[in-house]
Every structure is written in structure tokens, then in C-alpha cells.
Amino acid sequence: MRFAITVHGGPYTSQSSHSALNFAKAVLHEGHDLYRVFFYHDGVYNGSEIMAPPQDEIDLYGEWRQLALDHELDLVVCIASALRRGVINPTEAERYEKSAANLGKPFTISGLGQLIDAALSADRLVTFRV
């Protein structure tokens, strides 16, 4: 079966990122497809590669990154949510004349259409809310 996941909560601040990550691992472990993980609202902060959590806590960005590399996942942060919250890639940093970019690979920035596409293309959409 084909799943899609939406994450609304910021990393560490809310458990929704942890839950979504554990759910994503279970989807893959159970042999299902994971069509896309769409990060919306504060969920876009998950894509920041400059988080430095304490050593004895989970590295959420690193976990998403490794899971995506192992399973060729599509991790998308919503562009409107991300711009206003300061999660940007080098292209957007240049366009908006910002001093730095912080979106880490393999996260990509795209529009809300990717959420609608995920909702229509997947058999099940599961949202992790704040």
C-alpha cells in the first residue's frame, strides 16, 4: 500500500516529528511504499541542517536524512511555510538576499501542490499534528 505523511510540528518542540519518523520507519519496515513526507507549518524546521541537539538526544535532521537516503524518500518542505520561518536553500537565499541557507539535503523546497498530489496519489495520508 502507498502511504504519504504530513508533519505539522517543529522538531523537539513537539512530539509530532518523532512520531512521524517512527511511523515512517514502520511503514517501510512493513513493506509499504512511502510516496512523500510533506513538512508544513513548523514541520519545515525539520529540514534545517544547522540544528545542534544535545548528544544524548535524537538527531532528527540526521535521522530523516539517513532514512531518505536508504529508501530514496521524497522529503518536501512547503515553500510558503519555510520562507516565513527562515528555512531556505541557496537559491531562495540568493533570491531574497539572505545571508545564509540552512535547508539540508535531501530535503527539497516545493509548493503546496505537492501536498495535494500526495493526498491524491497515496492510498493513505497520515498527518502528525501539534
Partner: protein, 89 residues
């Protein structure tokens, strides 16, 4: 047929909002802080509880007999049994 997830304790409206619109053959899964609702839904066999969230909150030995504990694989399994998922927060 819908799987309803609840992630807030009884002090929030999420549980009562969910119960008010749940059909008799729907399923419920308590996740995150929603597992604190376990006493409020004791006796309702539609209700499942996410084990890792129950353990994290020190409630493992309080699960009412009528409720079903599931792990993340079981959460995925519940999703496959229903047509769609509705989240209450």
C-alpha cells in the same frame, strides 16, 4: 470506515470532539499525550493505544482490558484496515 487518532489529554477538546462524531464501526488510536485518555475510553473496544507512548508516560500497567495496545507496525496495520485517517489535536 475511519481511523481516528487523538494526541491530547482529556483536558483538551480533542477526545470529546472525536467521540461526538465517531461511527460505531470506526477505530480510534490514542497517540502521544492522547494516551492519558485511556481511563475516559475504558470499555470501548474500538479504542487502540500506541504502546511506545504509553511506556514513555509510565502508564503501561494501567491499560484497561478492553483496549488494544499496538506498536508502530500495528499503527500502520490499522491504517490499512480503514479507508482514511482523521486526526484530532
Amino acid at each position: 470506515m475511519i481511523l481516528h487518532t487523538v494526541n491530547k489529554p482529556p483536558s483538551h477538546a480533542a477526545l470529546s470532539d472525536c467521540l461526538a462524531v465517531m461511527a460505531s464501526d470506526d477505530l480510534m488510536l490514542l497517540i502521544e499525550d492522547g494516551v492519558y485518555c485511556l481511563h475516559e475510553v475504558s470499555g470501548d473496544s474500538r479504542v487502540h493505544v500506541l504502546t511506545p507512548d504509553l511506556e514513555a508516560r509510565g502508564l503501561w500497567d494501567r491499560l484497561p482490558a478492553e483496549l488494544t495496545a499496538v506498536d508502530y507496525a500495528g499503527f500502520v496495520g490499522l491504517c490499512t484496515r480503514v479507508d482514511k485517517i482523521k486526526t484530532w489535536a
